[in-house]
């Protein structure tokens, strides 16, 4: 069977995404972050041709531009002055400082877009159920109630509308009052109903002893291999970072921007880590070709 990135065990998927975010926050260097962002964009392209990223592109670009623009406004520190507006110095250091932060935030939001796609609520609930079972039940119930409450709100507003009460008309004060009146009806309605839910849980012996469960996700050999591989890369990167590599010191004295040989070694480890979904995809393609050629 061809392994897809989505098919890995949720624990691994979660570990991968948290690892990427950690790395993006640790390595504050423009060159490294640009390449990391490109890899993340590539992941999105391979996954769905930027379909999902498009919806978030405005937020990503806007926050990036804002951070880059605002940094030199507030920060005049630095030795290399690019230009002067009025009596305000725009320094290279300030621009770089802003770009590093902007790149890091843009990359983090972009990887979250992929996270939301791959790490479905289903998988997150599975992880919670292993670590915090009681909290997982609560979260599951809440997620189940949200669509129910929405439907009930529609019912309530239909009834209220027939009585001439609506959130759409009247002045500000009236709107707010009517809006919360809906919610109040919803509370009474739902709390009465909730007792039935609870009693039916009790009728099914909720909370009485251990239960057997069906696990949709199984930890397979390939998950263990993936964990070892990615875990090794993460430790390698963290150790390198603790030795002070992979970060551009801007203040008090700016380091030269190009990466040194050692830093490239470290950065490549990070790139391979982030590119894991691409590696999986590439491996799948290769396997497919081999299978075809064997037929």
């Amino acid at each position: 069977m061809i392994q897809r990135f989505e098919d890995f065990h949720p624990a691994f998927t979660f570990f991968y995404y948290m690892g990427v975010i950690l790395l993006l926050m640790m390595f504050q260097h423009p060159t490294i972050l640009v390449i990391a962002l490109l890899i993340i964009l590539m992941i999105h392209f391979v996954e769905d041709r930027f379909q999902n990223l498009k919806r978030w592109s405005l937020l990503i670009i806007l926050s990036g531009v804002l951070i880059i623009l605002l940094n030199p406004v507030f920060n005049q520190r630095g030795r290399i002055v690019l230009f002067i507006i009025g009596d305000h110095y725009i320094t290279l250091e300030a621009v770089l400082n802003g770009s590093v932060t902007a790149l890091s935030i843009m990359a983090i939001i972009s990887i979250f877009v992929s996270y939301n796609e791959v790490m479905t609520p289903n998988k997150l609930l599975f992880l919670f159920s292993k670590l915090l079972p009681q909290f997982a039940v609560l979260l599951m119930l809440t997620l189940r109630f949200i669509p129910l409450m929405r439907r009930r709100l529609e019912e309530i507003s239909a009834v209220q509308y027939s009585k001439g009460i609506a959130v759409t008309d009247g002045n500000w004060r009236k709107k707010v009052k009517n809006g919360l009146l809906y919610i109040q009806v919803l509370v009474t309605y739902s709390l009465e109903e909730a007792i039935q839910t609870a009693d039916s849980m009790n009728a099914r012996e909720y909370g009485k002893g251990e239960r057997t469960t069906y696990d949709h996700f199984r930890f397979k050999k390939i998950d263990a291999v993936a964990f070892l591989w990615v875990g090794f890369l993460l430790i390698y990167c963290v150790i390198g970072r603790l030795y002070g590599f992979g970060v551009l010191t801007i203040y008090p004295m700016m380091d030269p921007i190009p990466l040194t040989g050692m830093e490239w070694c470290l950065a490549i480890g990070m790139f391979i880590f982030i590119a894991f979904p691409l590696v999986v995809k590439g491996g799948g393609r290769l396997k497919w070709r081999i299978l075809i050629s064997k037929m």
């Binding site: 926050m25 507030f74 909290f135 039940v137 707010v176 709390l191």
Partner: protein, 242 residues
């Protein structure tokens, strides 16, 4: 039963270890003052986990858990009728009321779950842990202060609602500022008044809208809601009325 006691002890130890982790992170900020961004994330996430473990240790009956879920779901859904009015949402008010009536632990858990669940629908982001802790603390502090004589009166409650309107915004500002400055200190950094003051002023409009709407909700509906929730608590022998 032996298993249950052993499990509870294990959780207690785990909680203690996590607490040490928080202290460790706090101590390391003294050395690595340039890394506030990810150190603060560590603290927020560990703090949430410590509370969740505490919740896990409590033996909870079906009626309590369903009640908590209903309140959390209502807190997240209650934004819908207000979609037309910018920066007015009763989520904070609902969580506050739940804290007043059901106590600090229930208030905290309702806040945390409603933030997490609504982001599961709207999309998670780096802001999720901050929203969880902010709304969690709204519920927690409401439960903590509910027996204080000042809080029994209207003025105390109004003050509380105003404070949380701003405090909520400020907690979210921490995340915004960390994103903006990269968590560095010094000039142009996190604590530079030249950055700090304009940022907080620009958020003040939204924060005061939040505070005003909290107060309006409280004055119009506070009394009714407390009575309503108290009635359910008593009627069904829920949480504390055992």
């Amino acid at each position: 039963m032996g298993g249950a006691v052993g499990k509870s002890l294990k959780m207690r130890v785990l909680q203690l270890l996590l607490l040490l982790g928080v202290v460790g992170i706090l101590a390391s900020t003294l050395v690595w003052s340039e890394h506030y961004l990810w150190l603060s994330f560590g603290i927020v996430i560990l703090a949430i986990i410590i509370f969740l473990l505490h919740f896990e240790r409590r033996k909870i009956v079906a009626r309590e858990i369903v009640l908590l879920a209903v309140m959390a779901a209502i807190a997240s859904v209650s934004r819908i009728p207000f979609a037309a009015i910018p920066s007015v949402q009763p989520t904070t008010f609902v969580i506050m009321m739940a804290g007043f009536v059901f106590g600090k632990e229930s208030g905290f858990i309702i806040g945390v779950v409603s933030a997490l669940a609504s982001n599961m629908i709207l999309g998670q982001g780096p802001w999720t842990p901050w929203q969880m802790i902010a709304w969690g603390l709204v519920g927690f502090s409401a439960g903590l202060l509910r027996n204080w004589s000042v809080m029994k009166g209207t003025i105390g409650k109004v003050g509380f609602a105003i404070i949380w309107g701003f405090l909520f915004g400020w907690i979210m500002n921490i995340w915004g500022l960390l994103a903006l400055t990269g968590g560095g200190t010094g000039e142009g950094g996190l604590l530079d008044p030249q950055v700090l003051i304009p940022y907080f002023i620009s958020s003040a409009l939204f924060d005061s809208m939040h505070a005003v709407s909290n107060v309006v909700f409280l004055l119009l509906f506070g009394g009714v809601w407390v009575k309503l929730l108290e009635r359910f608590k008593m009627k069904y022998g829920l949480l504390e009325y055992k």
